[in-house]
């Protein structure tokens, strides 16, 4: 192959500030263009589809509240993933920790339902959910810290076990979590005291504000506290951490447990709002996996996850409604989600390298001289 030019990648000494913002934005744009080509090729009008998605996801009154409602759990799984990723701990099992959070939250709601007043119930459900999420990552966290076992593999495999556990609790006859006397097996509703009321006539719950505050708080923790300082030292240079007497093992366990707790909290928000019961449908929704993409798009910045989480929620609500209003397949939203991740990861190359077009005339001249 003899092209008249070739592309050369030159490493940047530093990333210009504008690129840090431009690359994620352009990644989203590139994904939308790629999705548009796909839509066009399969016989749908890209413009019509996108404008429908945009208005259904963001610019209609029910659209925006549905989006913010859905973003609650996505911001949770997003900060969960990012909190581990920033220390190069790849907790891929946020999905499984989310299931456990939901199981724990549902159990707490059912168990304490008639014994505790509402203002205690809600925190109890959320905390038990978070604790179960943390517990689900405890084993991967310890073996990673002690033996260096890849957390990618262990957390991912535990997700499958978590999914089986959800099914077990729903489909087993006489299960504590199962609603009695229903034709199709489904989860037993938690008492009203364990549920929040939505904001007015919407699908949005006050937990949205809780998780946004939590995201901003974690942003502060990472930047301003000793704990955040330790995370930064370990993630950048483990040997510097050892030199300074900072225990990487302890911090690894702490960070992974917090990550698991955040995913678990996400599961519990689905109990106090939205579902109100353990729902086997959760294993099809992929909220935990979406957190990985949301974290990547926000480059693990806790505060930026609020934005990328809402963006993703909008794509999903817009995509879901598309199916109802038109005959566009629901999967266009999921496809865009995947495309955004691909472009966001690919965009990293532009942050680190400068792409140069090198003309080949000189080389051919030299070839002729030989």
């Amino acid at each position: 192959m003899n092209l008249p030019f070739r592309l050369a990648f030159e490493q940047r000494t530093e990333t210009p500030r504008r690129l840090a913002v431009m690359v994620p934005l352009l990644s989203v744009l590139a994904a939308i263009v790629a999705g548009g080509i796909f839509l066009f090729a399969t016989g749908y009008s890209p413009f019509e589809t996108y404008s429908n998605m945009l208005s259904d996801g963001f610019f209609s009154s029910t659209g925006i509240t549905d989006t913010l409602g859905l973003s609650t759990v996505l911001i949770c799984t997003g900060i969960a993933a990012a909190f581990a990723f920033q220390m190069n701990l790849y907790n891929i099992g946020g999905e499984g920790q989310l299931y456990l959070g939901m199981i724990g939250g549902a159990w707490a709601g059912l168990f304490f339902g008639d014994r505790l007043p509402g203002f205690v119930m809600i925190p109890v459900v959320l905390l038990v959910g978070a604790a179960c999420g943390a517990l689900w990552i405890a084993l991967p966290a310890f073996v990673r810290a002690r033996l260096g076992t890849s957390e990618i593999v262990t957390t991912l495999l535990l997700t499958y076990i978590g999914a089986s556990l959800v099914n077990h609790f729903i489909y087993r006859a006489g299960s504590y979590f199962r609603a009695p006397n229903t034709l199709f097996p489904q989860g037993r509703q938690v008492p009203d005291s364990a549920m929040l009321s939505p904001l007015g006539d919407t699908t949005m719950y006050p937990t949205f504000f809780l998780v946004t505050v939590l995201a901003v708080f974690l942003w502060w923790v990472v930047r301003r506290t000793e704990f955040g300082y330790r995370i930064q030292v370990i993630s950048d240079s483990p040997r510097a951490a050892r030199y300074a007497g900072i225990s990487a093992q302890r911090t690894t366990v702490q960070v992974m447990m917090i990550s698991g707790a955040l995913s678990g909290l996400g599961g519990a928000t689905l109990i106090v709002g939205t579902f109100g019961r353990l729902d086997p449908g959760i294993v099809l929704l992929g909220y935990g996996y979406a957190g990985i993409v949301i974290a990547a798009l926000a480059r693990n910045n806790m505060a930026a996850i609020i934005v990328s989480g809402i963006l993703f929620a909008g794509l999903r609500t817009g995509g879901d409604k598309l199916q109802i209003s038109t005959d566009t397949p629901i999967h266009i939203g999921v496809m865009l989600q995947g495309a955004i991740l691909l472009f966001a990861l690919g965009g990293e190359a532009f942050r680190r390298y400068r792409v140069k077009v090198v003309r080949m005339q000189t080389a051919t001249a030299q070839g002729a001289a030989q």
């Binding site: 301003r224 930064q232 030292v233 240079s237 040997r239 030199y243 300074a244 000189t362 030299q366």
Partner: protein, 520 residues
């Protein structure tokens, strides 16, 4: 090539001699983002000549060499081989013109044999390797230039000097007429340097050209037929004639001002023992890394540990700093036992430690100067950076660190400035006032100006009564700074002498493990 007349001339050199240049570069300019690495540089090398490129780190010598061998392309200017213009679009194109570079960091496959490494990348290999034949061919090339290597030896088993020889044989095997040696002596012990210089002479005797890249003045004077000095990407001077260059003059051309690297030793009596090491042994994976080491360092004294890299220096420093627990034996600092108590306890007893690896161990590259100052100190739950800022600014001034302020990232500092930040933090004390300073290769890779500053800082710390353990592979440095010298070889102290009475040959022999000579 019997040009013995010495000329020191500023500005570009124009060769008016009779011998044509084997390789010449004219008006070479190369720009990197934010840096003018080479500015209108002229350079040429004749057959059978050693022409040295001298300059500090960042002066542009490696960039020029990279363009001469085809690794980079100049933005403007021309390169000519035997008078004919050539375009070197890749190292392979350079090689096809008989130009090869021996890099400072070797590019050898450790699991392969010498012969396999030498022929690696040759395009005339058959699908099945005929080992015996290859070995013969490689041995033949090696012998022709007096470079003794065993073609069937595994590279992983060879010493650094031997590996360098393999790199040179590889270049010659590939048909190199012009060899660019990038800081070839940086990794060698004195005896190996001598051997290398013999090889260089053997090669020039057969008409090969050598471009020697270095910042070590003594060896430059010894080996070079001509010297071109670079500073900030420009040629600042040119000296011809073997042995005619004057180190003081070269240093001035290189740095732009007069430099003083004179011998400095403790001018006052030393106090009581600050560091006591007793029968220290360390076994890692069944290998004795340190065996039965005992010595003391006193207040106001600098003890130098000499040795070739990998003889236990790093482990010794890490053990004293509390990063590693010894298998047996003890370390005490300021009269208190610090063995097995970890790095923070050692620091609380007054230890400061400047590790060999500055960025990545001593400093966190992605963090600011200010955050790096906090690394070895007590930090509150909520880090109060504002209160440390005045001190950071003060240290930046006091240690003459070139930075935009306390927020300047460590990885964006030059080697010399990174070392100054590290010394600033360690000398200024953190948890307690510094009593004992352990420094490893404090000036490695620094330019002459920074070396001068770092040595002065160490001398000041000694004068202030701190006990200093200087661990360095740079024998010159130890010889000119240390009050006492211990030689570490295979984890044991094989030789001890005072700084005044130390003999380069004796210490060098001990470093190479020739203990019989040492014990006399």
């Amino acid at each position: 090539m019997s040009n013995t007349s010495s000329e020191v001339a500023k500005g570009p050199h124009h060769s008016g001699g009779a011998a044509p240049s084997a390789l010449s570069a004219r008006n070479i300019t190369k720009r990197f983002p934010g840096v003018l690495a080479n500015d209108n540089v002229d350079f040429d090398v004749r057959p059978g000549e050693v022409h040295t490129l001298l300059g500090e780190n960042g002066a542009g010598k490696s960039t020029l060499a990279a363009m001469l061998c085809g690794l980079y392309q100049p933005d403007s200017g021309t390169i000519a081989r035997n008078g004919a213009p050539v375009v070197l679009s890749s190292p392979r194109a350079g090689l096809s013109h008989g130009i090869a570079m021996v890099h400072q960091h070797f590019r050898l496959v450790e699991r392969f044999t010498v012969a396999e490494n030498v022929v690696l990348g040759s395009r005339d290999l058959s699908y099945t390797l005929k080992r015996a034949e290859l070995n013969d061919r490689v041995a033949e090339v090696a012998e022709r230039y007096g470079l003794p290597v065993d073609p069937s030896a595994t590279v992983g088993d060879l010493s650094v000097g031997q590996r360098q020889r393999v790199e040179i044989v590889k270049a010659l095997y590939q048909g190199a007429e012009i060899l660019l040696l990038d800081e070839p002596t940086a990794v060698l012990v004195p005896a190996e340097v001598e051997k290398l210089f013999e090889n260089v002479h053997a090669m020039t005797a057969t008409g090969k050209s050598i471009v020697f890249i270095s910042h070590k003045l003594g060896e430059v004077v010894e080996i070079s037929d001509r010297v071109t000095v670079l500073r900030n990407g420009r040629v600042t001077g040119h000296v011809s004639g073997r042995g005619s260059a004057d180190t003081r003059e070269l240093a001035r051309l290189m740095v732009g001002r007069d430099i003083d690297l004179a011998v400095q030793r403790a001018s006052h009596a030393t106090g009581h023992e600050v560091l006591q090491i007793r029968d220290l042994s360390l076994t890692v994976n069944g290998i004795d890394v340190l065996s039965n080491i005992s010595f003391n360092v006193h207040e106001g004294e600098m003890v130098g540990i000499a040795g070739v890299a990998g003889n236990g220096q790093k482990e010794l420093a890490d053990t004293i700093a509390g990063l590693v627990s010894p298998t047996s034996g003890s370390v005490s600092i300021g009269g208190s036992m610090s063995t097995d108590r970890g790095p923070i306890a050692a620091r609380e007893l007054g230890l400061a430690y400047v590790p060999e690896d500055r960025l990545g161990m001593g400093l966190v590259p992605s963090m600011s100067i200010l955050d790096n100052l906090l690394l070895t100190r007590d930090r509150d739950t909520v880090v109060d950076r504002a209160s440390v800022k005045p001190e950071a600014n003060r240290l930046i001034d006091q240690f003459e660190i070139k930075a935009n302020g306390p927020e300047h990232l460590a990885r964006k500092l030059s080697g010399g400035n990174a070392q100054k930040v590290l010394l600033a933090r360690e000398l200024s004390g953190g948890r307690t006032a510094t009593k004992l300073l352990v420094v490893c290769s404090p000036t490695r890779g620094l330019d002459v100006g920074a070396i001068e500053t770092v040595r002065r800082l160490l001398d000041d710390a000694r004068s202030a009564g701190q006990a200093i353990l200087l661990i360095s592979e740079d024998l010159d440095e130890i010889m000119s700074l240390a009050d006492r010298i211990l030689v570490l070889y295979r984890g044991a102290i094989v030789h001890e002498t005072t700084g005044e009475s130390a003999q380069l040959t004796t210490v060098g022999a001990a470093m190479a493990g020739l203990t019989q000579e040492v014990q006399q």
